[in-house]
């Protein structure tokens, strides 16, 4: 039971499409008229931005199954403290989220953990093995907001086509990380001069393009809704643009680190930059940034993959891929604003509205009566990311030691 008034704050409402300075109040988790009633807490919002809580389209909490890397409590609270009030958990937990019992179990763990609200993607195939369909209808009933096979491949185009048909008949979006497994061939770096010089097994851009072409062809056949997650290349952006121009029901996101880093981050065998899909060339990064700027890519996610120290303590090819990223999602997003690529409102669209649309959730805005899922941002706050200060169990990020401008200062879940 509390009532809070934030005065003179820059309100970024991606649902209404408005950017205005004024007051905003909420009482008992619901946004109310700031002109009425008394408030327990009054916050001076001058110089601050207020947006609906961020929805992260892909964050692994490692729980259940790999709690040495992170727990639901540590990761959902790390996300929450960084402005993310809801995250979407892919099904590659242990056990895999491919039946309602696991959904119920994860929900229970998430509820006890507090922090960000946890949405789940169900497995597209049983055990994520790529062969037999998971019980998608049951998963939907249990609350899954989409289905995916994650980074594990579907056996063949026939299984993929049937999975799309089946999911489409249930109105479920299929999330696809486009990466052809044969072309990726267990590589650990973008195919190019850096991987060649360092002698790293490489993943060509074609691994993304071939997979996207196949899924796009199947969308043409089935009309199913597909969301491409974690795009990494300029050719991927081109394919997305062409598919959307033809009116296909396709959306896409990009991991925030892809908008800042290139394969040059691997120099010196930096295992912290080992991520799948790999960091690619500067041209790829430019294309991804332009697509985020134009809205072609409608969502930015963290692709959070926390690891214990040992997972990254090895020669680079033997390390586990992934970046601990929930704590840098908003700060990197703010860099896009500082770089002039996005307006503050457009950033709120990429972090909140785009993800909400992909997941088919109710819109998140700042209107009176809406849930007070809120993120207060000080866009000018200067700070440095140091490992000891991280809330995630995983300190595996190539951004350690970097200076940032802007971060979430208060976060509320309605």
């Amino acid at each position: 039971m509390s009532a809070t008034l934030i005065r003179n704050v820059r309100r970024l409402d991606p649902l209404a499409g408005t950017d205005s300075v004024g007051d905003l109040a909420f009482r008992n988790g619901v946004i109310v008229d700031p002109a009425q009633g008394a408030f327990d807490e009054v916050i001076d919002g001058i110089g601050h931005w207020l947006l609906p809580g961020i929805v992260d389209l892909c964050a692994r909490t490692r729980d259940p199954g790999a709690t040495q890397k992170g727990t639901m409590r540590s990761e959902s609270n790390a996300a929450f403290a960084s402005g993310i009030t809801a995250l979407c958990l892919p099904p590659d937990t242990r056990p895999v989220i491919d039946n309602t019992a696991v959904v119920i179990r994860v929900n229970r763990i998430a509820k006890a953990a507090g922090g960000a609200y946890v949405y789940m993607l169900g497995a597209l195939t049983k055990g994520l093995e790529g062969e037999a369909l998971a019980e998608i209808s049951a998963l939907k009933s249990a609350g899954c907001v989409g289905v995916t096979n994650g980074l594990t491949p579907v056996a063949n185009a026939l299984v993929a086509r049937r999975a799309l048909e089946y999911a489409a008949s249930l109105g479920m979006t299929v999330h696809v990380v486009p990466l052809d497994a044969a072309l990726a061939n267990h590589g650990c770096a973008h195919e190019g001069a850096v991987a060649t010089r360092l002698g790293l097994a490489s993943i060509p851009v074609a691994a993304e393009a071939v997979a996207m072409r196949q899924w796009i062809s199947l969308v043409e056949d089935t009309g199913a809704r597909v969301h491409f997650g974690r795009l990494s290349s300029a050719r991927g952006v081109e394919l997305l643009a062409a598919a959307k121009a033809r009116g296909l029901p396709i959306t896409a996101d990009v991991a925030a680190h892809q908008l800042f880093l290139t394969d040059a981050a691997l120099e010196g065998f930096n295992a912290l930059a080992h991520v799948i899909p790999p960091l690619r060339s500067a041209d790829d990064r430019t294309a991804l940034r332009e697509a985020v700027g134009s809205g072609l890519i409608g969502a930015i996610c963290s692709d959070h993959q926390p690891h214990e120290l040992d997972a990254k303590t090895n020669p680079l090819p033997l390390t586990e891929p992934g970046i601990s990223a929930v704590e840098t999602l908003l700060p990197l997003g703010l860099r896009l604003v500082h770089d002039g690529l996005l307006s503050p409102l457009a950033l709120a669209e990429r972090l909140v509205h785009g993800p909400v649309q992909v997941l088919g959730l109710p819109g998140r805005g700042l209107a009176i009566g809406a849930a007070a899922d809120l993120c207060l941002v000080d866009p000018a706050r200067e700070w440095r990311l140091d490992a000891a200060g991280m809330k995630s169990v995983g300190r595996n990020t190539p951004f350690i030691g970097e200076a940032f401008r802007g971060r979430a200062t208060r976060v509320w879940r309605g």
Binding site: E191, G192, A193, V194, A195, T196, R197, L198, G199, L200, A201, S202, P204, E267, G268, F269, D310, T313, N314, P315, L316, P317, L318
Partner: protein
């Protein structure tokens, strides 16, 4: 990155991880030092007391006979105590990490690790985690680097063709999987070779190799035209799996150095191979030990070059005589 890791603040060798990042004077100094060891070996006794009381451990995670032998001989001729450890990849998967292995050995007061590992970047990894008084010598990491092989190759070339600026060098074969090729390319570039070519089918030429300062040829005859030195690489037989090549026979037909091909080139052209050779694959058997082949010289020089590197790192001597 490798240059900051492998050099001291004064620019001396602290580890040897990669040829990349070495200056021309330092690289030349290694070759000059090796020259002294090579000379001395013939005239006076074989042993030098430079590393007396030092312990060198050959830590090989990948099978090797000749490279390990030459490192062992080099260390022994410098009077070091030498320990050879061949560790199957499986034993490190029994719960002990690579780092555990390193730290366990370090506790035994080892001065230098000579490391070979199948993962690119392994030597860098060890150097990053090694105690300050421990040196790492890279004896081959994945596809990345094999710096002492490149040094002995340069040593061998220099004995026959002292002026690198006049040389066109063709490196032929499986460039994609070759740490030798990468290290040779760096070394040749640092020493100012006129032209460095890589020759092979496109399946065995890695993307973006041009950025290392080489010209790519997919045809052997044009790649060898005008070359002064031909460096052949070993073709692993398992490359037939994974569709890199249809057969060793077809590779030999298109990229093998045959007596007939060699006959078409000027007589002063030098032929090199890091060994062990695949007769009838990258090289026709009798070419390997012909008068134009430097293959056995390469093996011999391997010892002097490795002595030079060990002496410069552990003895910290600019000149050893």
């Amino acid at each position: 990155m490798s240059d900051t890791l492998q050099l001291t603040s004064a620019g001396r060798l602290r580890h040897l991880l990669s040829i990349e990042g070495l200056s021309k004077p330092l690289l030349t100094e290694i070759l000059d030092t090796a020259e002294q060891f090579a000379d001395h070996r013939n005239s006076r006794g074989k042993k030098f007391p430079l590393l007396h009381g030092k312990t060198v451990v050959n830590l090989f995670f990948e099978a090797s006979t000749r490279t390990r032998m030459t490192f062992e001989l080099a260390a022994k001729r410098l009077s070091a105590d030498v320990l050879n450890l061949q560790i199957a990849a499986s034993s490190t998967s029994k719960g002990e990490t690579l780092l555990d292995t390193l730290k366990t050995m370090e506790a035994m007061q080892v001065d230098m690790f000579v490391i070979r590992h199948e993962a690119s970047g392994a030597a860098h990894f060890f150097a990053q985690h090694a105690a300050p008084e421990v040196a790492i010598l890279n004896a081959g990491d994945g596809r990345h680097a094999h710096p002492t092989q490149a040094l002995l190759d340069m040593f061998t070339i220099r004995r026959h063709r002292p002026d690198f600026s006049k040389l066109t060098v063709a490196i032929v074969g499986d460039i994609l999987h070759s740490r030798v090729a990468r290290s040779d390319i760096h070394a040749l570039r640092i020493l100012g070779a006129r032209e460095i070519r890589v020759v092979g089918p496109r399946t065995l030429i890695p993307a973006g190799i041009e950025d290392m300062g080489v010209t790519v040829f997919n045809d052997l005859d044009s790649g060898l035209k005008g070359a002064d030195v031909i460096m052949l690489l070993r073709l692993q037989k398992e490359r037939m799996v994974g569709a890199f090549l249809p057969s060793t026979g077809e590779f030999h037909r298109d990229f093998g150095l045959t007596r007939a091909r060699l006959a078409k080139l000027p007589p002063e052209v030098l032929v090199m191979h890091p060994g062990p050779i695949n007769r009838g694959v990258e090289i026709e058997g009798d070419v390997a030990y012909s008068e134009r082949s430097l293959i056995l010289e390469q093996v011999e020089h391997g010892i002097a070059v490795r002595m030079a590197v060990m002496a410069m790192i552990l003895g910290d001597t600019g000149a050893t005589s």
